[in-house]
Symmetry: D2
Subunit: 342 residues, 4 copies
């Protein structure tokens, strides 16, 4: 064996990816799967996917990035060693992040996304016919460019004239803008100490930056980390309690994301009450959203916003509030954290 | 290195287990975890727990059995290479299996458990003050004896005079008995072809064995396999559809079990309607159940019995019915299956 | 996330492989390696390499084939789930297979390779200036074509006019040919029951097919499987004992191949004695071989053909002879074996 | 499931270990192995053994210690996450460390072991009938006590009246002693920066501490880390070159240790020449050593002390010398290293 030819045909061509797929699927597989992606969900817990191929590996100014083709979950975007989004179930995450907030608002026109570089959040927002403007502000231009190029499912969204794409720190951008929004969406990386995002989960940020940029009746919604029976204490309950200090009405909800091996959480917050029934949600979906949701409808939201006894109790009793000095973090970003602490 | 002394003190004694624990916890852990339990949830998907120790490995007439001490989920019972039950979250499974059916029944006195050798199902049943008799019928005496000896949390249940423990095939036992029951609970291994249980998930079994042994207003409830957005098509939807052929009222519900890395499903069925409100469930819990549930209350059940749009749609459209000739199976038991097919 | 664009630039292009490499190397790697190739050397023993990329996955008429870019061993060719050859250490295997036999022969002109589709064996043979003809006979055209295209290091060999490449079963080819050879080289897959090669390791094959095709003074050499202190009993000692039944002089030797995680064995056999000293081997290398060996010289061969006490003893005592009815096999091909037996 | 009974019989008793073994072996094993020990040999390379049980986990003042029962290699002692010694092949390491030096010495009576807490080095030394005194000096009393209690194969050695066991730093001990030795054996952990041993591999240590404590004609021998075609550059070549600065005659040799997944190296050094033939080695073994070696004899040593061309060349060209300021380290102890650097 030796150096691979740089001029050979076939293996390096566009056929490669399909080829891998095609052949991969046709392997009747007498032998065990031999190539695996492995993620340490916690220090003592691993989650491993058989691989078809490694489509891309690289690093940007801010993050390490991998695009993998996995057997159980399709294409998967991995940032800093953590799965961000998998082809076959990202619709659960993105429908859950976007639609409850927009449907609870009477007429959402102007939207601001903090993060969201993958483009899927914009895609779901732009399905709403009430929306006239979406500002998407992500700090990492290379990730955005990467997703723009490779994620065909979001290509239309990236080209939508209603989308204004900004490369900047979301805090700086929100502070620098005069206009305000009907819905602000937090689609940020989890609050990693030392990461680009942890300051965007604090009480002072919500109070002095987010809330002033919401229109009357405006809604803030954020992804809020794992929300399982045990894992919700990592960040979900704290984000909930922090938002409770700032907004009058706060609605936590959650859904199982198979590729995350856990329940995931989101939280809506507003100074106006959330009073839309399941039937009304279904009706608004029909009136406002282009195409049909795969995961979310009124009943699903009712179910997902009714947390289990164990989680409800724990949220009620949470006393921790995120401030710049007292962040609480989820596992896995420990590496970055430690590096910065060293 | 060489043969381990058989007479040395300490390592082989009862102190061992505590010792492992004690020391294990005190390791500040500069280096990575090196001992792992690994389960293939599907052919392309693995779930791995760091290990404190392997408490027992053995095989019975019917099954391979392991008792592990895992770091993320505590003690874990593994049968035929599949995690059955983990110390820290088995309450979710067993509260979900037992309480909804008993609470929907006006006055459940006589209960029959198919399987349940671990003892946790009996433990939850015996918390109900209405219950006067629990017949628990498991085929594997060695597993029952093993759990009796080692699972302290179920010791009281195994000694409860209301419990009648039978070692037999559940079908044969039910057929041979004259008495009937208010609730019959299916706590069986998943429907493995070639395994001991798949005949206990068929239409004919439900029709000619289970239903005749239910009293007027009686309820049948069974664990029903994975119930995630994708995994519910493995067996959950078919068990649901099969029960729908036999009973007038069928209620599927589900909950996330962290150690299973998935949503799990259960199904209640009866010829009497299920008409108890969340508040009434809470009230009955207070009146009938000794101690407090950790996971389940009225709201939790409301949420868990409201399935997501994707799952609901798929259950509505399911046409497959389990018969002895047309079983459908979940992954992992494929080995046993293949062995028997060869 | 979603479908990958088929028209996007960059990722699918020739730059991909270099890109992966380039970027991969530049990752300073705060986080753990997440993509792994995993091989079960034995049922209870695994050997895992971090992956840069999966260059190709496919299946031919005979075999599953993968070309991986691994971090510890460079490009690696994997056939039927077993590592065949790794970029950084294949020279140890191929120098050991080829040069001892050719150097012990006074004037090797005509060579026949059974198998060897990768091309590296031919490459080493063609470095000998005495060689006028190399017949390479491999059964799997697709593997040969694949290696021809991608293994730059063997490209010159594949184009050498002295090489005659035949796609056929080696036994049929040898039986059908009239000409005979100075050296016959067995570069076959390990003797897998049910695989294409196990009949090429039997006493009757050596006696009635190989020996008649050797010229006077001719030498047969074959790769002979793992040859470690324990692993040599899998097939090495049996191939040795089988050859001992057929040839007057038999020389087993071995070398450590890092990517195999084991010592590997080869066996030379002839009816003429092997009487070349280490110094004479060094001299002949200078005279006959183009370029310099990286691994093998006279002293190395002396060392490698002096087996350890444990292995020598075991070879002396081996009584098993390979016949078509009594093959003995190495682990890992068990799957194919079982499939064929079912 | 729940807390394990502390009073139950069987599982916690001495029968446990045998029981696990007994049952483990009787598992016909339709399903895959699920419990694994995993070692990162290098950052990009893993070596994994299926586990029967975890016999002990603990930490001493100096090190983390595990005693595992592995399927491929029997009981295995793991210190700081690195396999030290496995039941089925430790004889290769210890015969190679001890016998060449003692057999090259005309009449070795007094021996000093630096490290060797496991007891196997003493065991091999005490097989020599010339030996009247063995001083074994290990820094970690708990490891010594642990091995004394559990390693039956070394029990006789630990009780031999010729053995003097000292708990101390080997350097301090050697410096503090007046007596000198015929052979000094270095059975130390690999040279980890920040570990207890790296100062025991330096030129100044050899010159001012070891050499002055050797009798006329005395021999120093040390384990010298991995010695594979690639891995010998980690520490083997440097230890070799360092010893070459201090002693007139230096003999490197190596052997494959299956459980290490690599060739291992040892180096003998003396100011007297090493001139014993293979036959004479065999004769001395018969005369001096009680019982028969399993691995080593004269021919084996001849082979093992004839390194391959690649390694020889690299050793010849090595210029690095270990000093307290310029240590070079092997992988895996990086953790300890980093901790100390932080």
């Amino acid at each position: 064996m030796g150096e691979i030819s740089s001029c050979s045909n076939g293996i390096n061509s566009g056929n490669n990816i399909n080829g891998v797929h095609g052949n991969g699927n046709s392997i009747v597989g007498g032998y065990r799967k031999s190539c695996w992606y492995e993620e340490e969900i916690e220090e003592n817990l691993r989650w491993c996917f058989a691989l078809n191929s490694i489509l891309h590996t690289g690093s940007t100014q801010y993050q390490e990035i991998q695009l993998l083709d996995t057997k159980p979950f399709g294409k998967a975007l991995v940032i800093d060693g953590k799965l961000q989004s998998a082809e076959i179930d990202e619709f659960i995450y993105h429908e859950s992040l976007v639609h409850p907030a927009l449907l609870h608002h009477p007429n959402p026109k102007a939207i601001f996304i903090m993060g969201g570089g993958e483009g899927s959040t914009a895609r779901e927002l732009l399905r709403h016919n009430t929306v006239v403007k979406v500002v998407m502000c992500d700090i990492d231009e290379e990730v955005v460019d990467f997703c723009k190029s490779y994620l065909v499912v979001n290509r239309e969204a990236f080209c939508d004239p209603r989308l204004e794409l900004i490369i900047n720190d979301a805090r700086a951008e929100l502070e620098g803008r005069d206009e305000s929004y009907d819905v602000i969406v937090g689609d940020l990386a989890d609050p990693i100490a030392g990461g680009p995002c942890y300051k965007l989960y604090t009480k002072s940020f919500y109070e002095s930056v987010v809330k002033p940029r919401l229109n009357q009746g405006g809604i803030f919604v954020t992804q809020a980390g794992p929300a399982g029976v045990f894992s919700h204490t990592e960040v979900f309950s704290c984000i909930y309690n922090t938002l409770r200090q700032v907004f009058k009405y706060v609605v936590p909800y959650s859904a199982h994301i198979p590729s995350y091996a856990d329940i995931w959480g989101w939280i809506m917050a507003s100074d106006s009450p959330f009073v839309v029934s399941a039937d009304e949600l279904d009706l608004r979906m029909k009136q406002r959203i282009k195409g049909e949701n795969r995961y979310l409808d009124g009943k699903t939201f009712t179910s997902n916003s009714t947390l289990s006894k164990a989680v409800r109790k724990s949220l009620d009793n949470e006393t921790h509030v995120y401030t710049e000095k007292s962040a609480r973090f989820i596992y896995g970003h420990g590496t970055a954290y430690k590096h910065n602490q060293d």
